[in-house]
């Protein structure tokens, strides 16, 4: 079941040659196939998702009477958008782990070959990243077409509420401050396009750094995946616990019993209704709030990914120098 293991450092070799040497041929073939084949697979998945959405929208039509275009398009829009979001979220989650695992293999040759190996890994992840951009592109086109339909003929699509509401709000904000709308849209679009590249860069660097914490080659991939998933978990926990703490503060601040000591509890039902109420603001103001929050979070998130990736690369080189000299 167990055998003795050598802790000697692995010899440096040309990255592609080393990879070929270490992997069984079947695995290399599968790796290459999955790397190059993911783009057409993604294209197929997106087209299939839209066809499925169209089929469901068609079958949801009333059996008798006139064909209701607005209702059919609403169904099609929501179903295809949800499927596309699920596809791209899953793909981006997988590519993060994959990039981290591949990044962990970049440290095998020491400091000298670290940079070319990283370059090679990022090159190999270009096609999967493009596949994610393709899924995002489908979603953008879907939303853009819906906006155009609403703008061209709003009376026919009056049922198409969310897009109709969104366009109406954007128009209202545009009338007040067009620059603000352009900046927010630009930030969202920028994140849409360079987000996957930043994620791949961040994950490879994180995987490489995690791999320097073990001398056993077979433990590198596991440590890299742990680090990548650990960062995701930390974000999830920060969101969960942060939400709870934020609500605690908001509920305390808006508590009618604390703000007016003369008030007493009459019954539970009354308390549930009166204990909290959202600030009364108009829908345009609310939309401006949401856009401001997005404008704050997106640059911080992107800058964090870029800065931390550089920091991880620096730390990895330092650790490799310490280990291999």
């Amino acid at each position: 079941m167990v055998e003795a293991h050598s802790d000697l450092p692995q010899p440096a070799d040309k990255p592609s040659k080393q990879l070929r040497k270490d992997m069984p041929s079947r695995r290399i073939r599968f790796e290459r196939w999955s790397r190059l084949g993911c783009f057409p697979m993604m294209l197929l998945a997106c087209v299939a998702a839209m066809l499925l959405a169209a089929l469901i929208a068609w079958s949801n039509q009333p059996r008798y009477g006139v064909f209701n275009f607005a209702r059919a398009y609403t169904d099609f829009f929501f179903i295809s958008l949800v499927i596309l979001v699920v596809i791209q979220t899953t793909a981006i989650w997988i590519i993060g782990i994959r990039a981290a695992r591949m990044g962990s293999q970049a440290v095998r040759g020491g400091r000298a070959s670290f940079r070319p190996r990283m370059h090679l890994i990022r090159q190999r992840l270009q096609v999967p990243t493009m596949a994610i951009l393709l899924a995002r592109g489908f979603a953008v086109v879907l939303v853009a077409v819906s906006i155009i339909i609403v703008l061209r003929d709003s009376s026919a699509l009056i049922q198409f509420n969310p897009v109709w509401e969104g366009v109406r709000l954007l128009e209202a904000i545009w009338d007040i401050d067009p620059f603000f709308v352009i900046v927010v849209m630009g930030a969202v679009l920028l994140h849409f396009i360079i987000g996957p590249w930043l994620r791949v860069r961040y994950s490879t660097m994180l995987g490489a750094l995690a791999a320097t914490f073990t001398r056993k080659p077979f433990e590198r991939a596991s440590l890299a995946a742990t680090a990548r998933l650990g960062v995701g978990l930390l974000l999830g926990l920060a969101l969960l616990w942060g939400t709870v703490l934020a609500f605690t503060v908001v509920l305390l601040a808006t508590d009618p019993l604390l703000s007016s000591p003369g008030l007493s509890v009459v019954n539970e039902r009354l308390i549930l209704i009166e204990r909290f109420s959202w600030p009364r603001v108009g829908s345009v103001t609310r939309a401006v709030y949401v856009m401001s929050v997005a404008l704050t979070i997106i640059p911080i998130y992107m800058a964090g990914q870029a800065v931390f990736a550089t920091l991880y690369a620096l730390l990895t080189r330092r650790r490799l120098k310490k280990i291999h000299g």
């Binding site: 167990v2 998933l229 995701g232 939400t243 605690t248 908001v250 509920l251 308390i271």
Partner: protein, 321 residues
């Protein structure tokens, strides 16, 4: 210095420990379990939390945001507890699989006699083997301890939030007087701290118990396969006995406590003629009982651990090839 004097195996120069810890698992399934456990735990936990947050956000109750907070915490906690039970069981079974061949494997390979002719103490040999298993399974163990810490924090947040919004909110002067005037908070705090500590210590204690049971099974049988089967049987029986014992104790305690606290409706004759205790007394008794129970279980677990290991040493002393 004192530790070095007490336990030679802790110095790191125990050759059995060094050899066993440096070994690499060659069995592909065991190795993938060993290396894949921590990322799987973290990944599933991260996905679970994201899914709970996302699904709850889609059904956000605008009229009652505190419902959202409680729901999110409760469902996340349930997901974590489920993951904890499954991974905990998997880790304990793996521990048995790793440690059971410790002595029986040596007997099979006819190297036990050679090991016994060395200057090494028998306790050091067995402890070295047990500690090496901990080194091999450190990643899953770290994952489970992490999971416990995260779930404990989430549970504390849930209790605090729910208690504040659903209980504290409706307290009147009498209840505030009861808690802080009659020092009822002391037994509650002591019991709560002990329960939290007990909860955090469990993965490590359960791991050590599995280690001791596995090494005992290894000295009972003379082949690796039988040792693993015996170890699994011992582990399963301890789980069943522990569940039955705990359920029995809880039912007995609840019956006795409710009979004592509210003697009018007591099913036990002895309590019917007594006058009920005050609320402060009830809280004190509840706190002290819970604290004693937790301490007794902890002591029982340490005792079981020591007993199994002692039995294993005793049996190993008599083993001949």
């Amino acid at each position: 210095m004192a530790l070095k004097k007490i336990s030679a195996w802790a110095q790191g120069d125990n050759p059995v420990y060094r050899l066993e810890a440096a070994k690499t698992v060659t069995n592909k399934r065991l190795r993938s379990m060993q290396l894949g456990c921590l990322p799987s735990i973290i990944g599933v936990m991260g996905l679970g939390i994201t899914a709970v947050l996302g699904i709850s956000a889609l059904q956000f109750p605008y009229w009652n945001p505190e419902r959202y907070v409680i729901d999110v915490l409760l469902y996340s906690l349930l997901a974590m507890l489920f993951l904890q039970v499954t991974t905990g069981a998997a880790l304990n079974i793996s521990t048995i699989a790793f440690i059971s061949p410790a002595v029986s494997g040596e007997l099979e390979m006819q190297s036990w006699s050679i090991l016994r002719t060395t200057a090494l103490n028998l306790v050091d040999v067995l402890l070295g083997k047990c500690l090496a298993v901990m080194v091999h399974l450190r990643l899953p163990l770290i994952g489970i301890v992490l999971l416990r810490a995260v779930s404990l924090t989430t549970a504390l947040l849930l209790i605090t939030f729910a208690f504040w919004r659903d209980t504290l909110y409706y307290w009147d002067t009498f209840e505030w007087q009861l808690v802080f005037g009659q020092q009822v908070w002391i037994p509650v705090l002591v019991a709560g701290t002990l329960i939290a500590l007990f909860y955090l210590l469990q993965p490590m204690l359960q791991f050590l118990i599995s280690d001791a049971l596995g090494v005992l099974a290894s000295t009972i049988t003379r082949s690796r396969t039988r040792a693993i089967a015996t170890g699994m049987a011992l582990r399963l029986s301890t789980w069943i006995v522990a569940i039955l014992l705990n359920v029995g104790i809880m039912i007995a305690f609840v019956t006795l406590f409710t009979s004592w606290a509210d003697p009018r409706f007591s099913q036990i004759e002895v309590f019917r003629n007594t006058t009920g205790p005050s609320q402060a007394q009830q809280w004190w008794v509840m706190g002290i009982s819970l604290s004693s129970y937790v301490l007794a279980v902890l002591l029982g677990q340490v005792g079981l651990l020591a007993f199994c290991f002692g039995m294993a040493v005793r049996r190993a002393r008599r083993l001949v090839e």
